[in-house]
Symmetry: C2
DNA sequence: CTGCATCCGTTCTGATACTG
DNA sequence: CAGTATCAGAACGGATGCAG
């Protein structure tokens, strides 16, 4: 974990605003497209599609199509995806707990 | 760590490509503007300036100006910034170790 | 249901030039 | 040294309509 240049490359992948949230939503098992769409507040259909395709391309998750009517597509973390999910958990937890502090710091900064 | 909506808010802050790298560069103590510019490969002066200002605004780091000639500005993590750095360490470590695997997955995907 | 294609306004970024 | 200002091109992101 010494090369900042490499870190930068991967942050371009996992540092995506939506990617980490998608990974998080898949932590308890496979989910369908519409389930993800509903549970990730504010994501558009387009962004979810793009994000899922990129994550599939990077080997973070798998996409399984069931040829039934109506169509049914399931997304699931790969083993590598699960290790990513573990690596991001601390950051997400930090985010939640520090949101009020950040908001306060920002308000004070803007007040000057 | 249950509200995905809140998580999304903070990811807009810390999920920034450059922000995590700046935080990482400050882990061993204060650094000057030019030091950061040199050590973060590929960042433009403008992006470093913007990133630093945002992180200062959010209470992640402090900016100290020494009124000497030539000018001297020092950036240092706040206590909150240090907890953020700890929370991001696993993700950065993951990034480094999995970069080859991601590249391989991507190459295979593109080959189809 | 699960997308893809297209349009189009907004935002981001780098390059460049200039300042205290 | 550490910025700010400006500009133009690139990338992002949402809305809409269509398809298997």
């Amino acid at each position: 974990m010494e090369d900042p240049c490499q870190a930068r490359e991967v942050l371009g992948i996992v540092g995506d605003k939506w990617a980490l949230l998608v990974v998080r939503m898949l932590k308890d098992g496979p989910r369908r497209f519409t389930e993800l769409k509903r549970s990730i507040d504010g994501i558009s259909q387009r962004m979810l599609t793009v994000t899922l395709r990129d994550l599939e391309r990077d080997g973070i998750l798998t996409r399984t199509v069931f040829a039934v009517m109506p169509p049914h597509v399931s997304y699931e973390l790969t083993p590598m995806g699960r290790t990513l999910r573990e690596a991001t958990a601390p950051l997400l937890e930090w985010s939640i707990t520090h949101l009020p502090l950040i908001a306060a710091a920002r308000a004070e900064y803007d007040g000057r």
